[in-house]
Symmetry: C2
Subunit: 154 residues, 2 copies
Amino acid sequence: MNVQFINPFLDSFLNVIGTMATITLTPGKPMLKEDELAKGDVSGLIGMVGEQAKGSLSLTFEKRLALKVMENMLGEAPNSIDEEVTDMVGELTNMVSGGAKKSLGEQGFEFDMATPVVVAGPEHHISHVSSGKKIIIPFNSLYGRAFIEICFEE
Amino acid sequence: MNVQFINPFLDSFLNVIGTMATITLTPGKPMLKEDELAKGDVSGLIGMVGEQAKGSLSLTFEKRLALKVMENMLGEAPNSIDEEVTDMVGELTNMVSGGAKKSLGEQGFEFDMATPVVVAGPEHHISHVSSGKKIIIPFNSLYGRAFIEICFEE
């Protein structure tokens, strides 16, 4: 996977969470996912299909951070990951992938997105099944961690 | 979502599990997913993008059934959902969606598939985020339950 694919997702995630929830995420170093695992409590996943490549994106949040994003966006948040929270994570997934799609399209790399799927469950982990490289980017915040994982195969 | 989209996924799932793992799954009635939730311990998810529609598919297995599929396919199985099991669920997801794609293509409904993503975690649940109808099909077996969920939006 070309490194030029990574930054649009990273930038779009920082932008969406910063703008919508006024939460500053601090990105760690992007890593090739080998033994590294993103663990979290709620994840948004979306498939991407283009002429040049196809792949998948996941955004994984620890529960505390997901609830804080919800609180900042809507003024209040439930105590647990309920349907309102999974809907919000689905929308964030659309927004992050949409932002990256726009930016990558300007670089001549076009793809279409499938519809998002959200997974909720304590400490689940995600495996992207692909022959392509898997990139994981950890993010820290005052309210817990998040992870982006991106995988494209050509 | 047109009902003609459902049977190819159902048939493909029965066929893949029957052929690869010699396990007979008994399908329940397909239902519109409203309050109904598929809960399981390992799920394969894949995005689909076509000119007429886009959507998502998930296959969710209870742990005992996933390990039995593994044992029947490979002669042995671990005690927990490890990387070998998630890889197998990713492959099954490719096979089931590939079978349905072939069958739907013969009916003039073409789509491309993204790469699959597998989620592992005890009793997680899945939400397909889409304006389209969500269909859930439960399956019973001697070794536990599985669920297909399909969602397309036009």
